[in-house]
Amino acid sequence: MRPPLPEILGASDLVVELGGRRGLLRRRAGVRAVDGVDISIAEGETFGIVGESGCGKTTLARALLGLQRETAGDVRLQGRRVSGLDPRAARHVREAVQYVHQDPGAALDPWWRVGATLAEGLAIHGVTDRTDQRARIAEILAAVGLDAAMAEHYPHELSGGQQRRIGLARILLLRPKIVILDEPTAGLDLSVQAAVLRLLRDLRARFGLTYVFISHDLSVVRRVCDRVAVMYLGRIVEQGSTATLFAEPRHPYTRALIAAAPHLDGRESGPSLPGDPPSLRAIPLGCRFHPRCAAAADTCARREPVLEQSGAAHAVACLRWRDLDAA
């Protein structure tokens, strides 16, 4: 699906196999955590990726970053093909893509002052002059709403919200174009979450960033993302502008996810989704979702749906979306 603005980061037919091993005589197959994903992220947008745990969100992020070598398919960055490389070379050409860890506190060395951690990142990327480093750190700390004195603190002295801000400062120092945010609000209190989301919005405008926003919190995704892709067992099952996707979800899985999110008014809408996603080692034939799908028909067990355009800015991979839409 074409994004409305020029693409900055994209992938086609991306496959990532995990845990495969080459034995002496035969190859042991791994599991396909990402299995044929097409994605095209536009410059300046916030692109959400949602789905239950184990659906391949984080593996997709790692493949986009170049930390995980793709098994097949292509990754494009700013119009260039950047796939087919080993992780070291891949990270080098994909420097413009950076990642904010889900738990930025755990990603900080407890024995190092925050300033030293921040300076290390700069040094790795070639900024070795101390005065230069200090100036850039002070500037970035101010940008994430922290006092420059924070550089003298140890990680345990920071609150959860402050740790998130340091996590952001750490990658912003490297002047990325694209930031992959992995569950950026998980475990945060409501008031801190609001402040972090607002900060993310301000930073995006100020530094001209593009976000890939991985989250399972649909309220947050609805609030901050321009477009959303819904993943199930390694595939994108629905994708569209946030407004369309939430107003008219077409895939039964998306409908169930939206219905499951608890609302302030206590209402519950739509059917619930029983059970857990099947293991990646036993992916169902036909549509991967059919064993859990309330709307599954006989064909769903035989034919595998492909992502098809279902509206101006909306694509869905379901054999029955037209019937369901009419119902």
Binding site: S53, L190, R201, H216, R223, A261, P262, H263, L264
Partner: protein
Amino acid sequence: MTAPVLQVEGLAVHLRGESGVARILDDVSLTLPRGGTLGVVGESGCGKSTLLRAILGILPRGAETPTGAILFEGRDILSDHAESARGRIGFVPQDPYLSLNPVFRAGDQILEIMRRHAPGSRRDHRDRLVELFRAVQLPDPEAALRKYPHQFSGGQRQRLLIAAALACDPALVVADEPTTALDVTTQREILALLRSLVTERGLSLLFVTHDFGVLASVCTEVAVLYAGRVAEAGPTRAVLDAPRHPYTRLLLACHPDRATDLAGIPGTVPAATAQPPGCRFHPRCPVVHSGCAVEVPTMVALGAGRAVACPWHEAALA
């Protein structure tokens, strides 16, 4: 309605530590009627977990003797360390992945609790457990008895722990954010299960959470904690629709479903060792008056079961 199952009156829990006395809870009063569902909601550091620990009698070492009273079925379980009474309180922990010992069969771990607290033979316990597994909708209850924790999914493990909480036929179940580690789809199933157990078994449920959506889906009554005190209490629907305490109003305005500008709340929750005098929210409060820094606000009854600890609850937020 009969006598409440749980009544907390003027509970204070203080911890003595290196950096002075931490006033974790002060003057907390709550009532949970039999068959009721009460949610305790608040941000980290507000004292939710300590309240649960005080009720379960598992306060950490270093805690000063709590003051006030915790009446469970009319008996003060705070003053006499009533082990036998506490056997009738079931507990559902937060993390189903950390709360079961991986090297023992899950069923055996629950049977051990029953041997310790519930009357009956081994055979009775086993039969009861199969019945409980059925009640919490575990697939194939007989086979589940022989399985190890890793053979269950996260949602199934939480069902196991709910079965464990019900094992000794409790009058009260306390749950500590039982769905935070789960996916939304699984969360919805677990919340539905808890609701059905409340109606079908006449359970009383004390539910601690930081998620207002989860609160709205399970609890009919709510108490909002801030910095160790109750800020506001009443029927969940009424409190969520028209919050009266400035803290509750600001906090709900941070919810992504409601937020207009994602403002957040200025400042941070005070450290328990440095609670501000007067109203503990006053340094962050947009409607603060001079008296707020001096006088500890008392709960003002608003009618219809609602109460708020703020004399300025009618003032508009600036």
